[in-house]
Symmetry: C2
Subunit: 78 residues, 2 copies
């Protein structure tokens, strides 16, 4: 399993959705009640984010949590 590329893909999902909502990282972090530097490191694929933080970001981006993992199956070799 390419863990690095999986975390990067997740981070890109967050970044793309954030930009679609025209939010800064600061604004997203505030909505999600997370730290801005944490959000920045998640977007850069440097965090093995927890389920609860995935759900906080999903709520802040107004999407269902599962949708943030939509394309992650491709990175996973059995």
């Amino acid at each position: 399993m390419s863990e690095e590329s999986l975390l990067k893909a997740f981070g890109q999902n967050i970044c793309q959705l954030r930009k679609e909502l025209k939010l800064s990282q600061e604004q997203l972090a505030e909505r999600a009640q997370l730290d801005r530097t944490y959000v920045s490191s998640v977007e850069r694929g440097q965090r093995n984010i927890s389920l609860l933080n995935i759900c906080k970001l999903a709520a802040a981006l107004d999407v269902l949590p599962g949708s943030l993992l939509a394309n992650l199956g491709d990175f996973y070799e059995q």
Copy 2:
């Protein structure tokens, strides 16, 4: 946000899928390359599981990672 109920719902998703495949926790843990006691605590909603472990369990259960979070949006009050 009811964090406890969210983690419990995720755990029930794992447990249900595992039983549908007629796998023991031991067999699922082995497939996912995780510890059996860890899988047990995830199923009981006692773990704020990480993204990489969500993907390992999804691959072991032969489902897409996002599907394990399918019903978690309901637990999340904005």
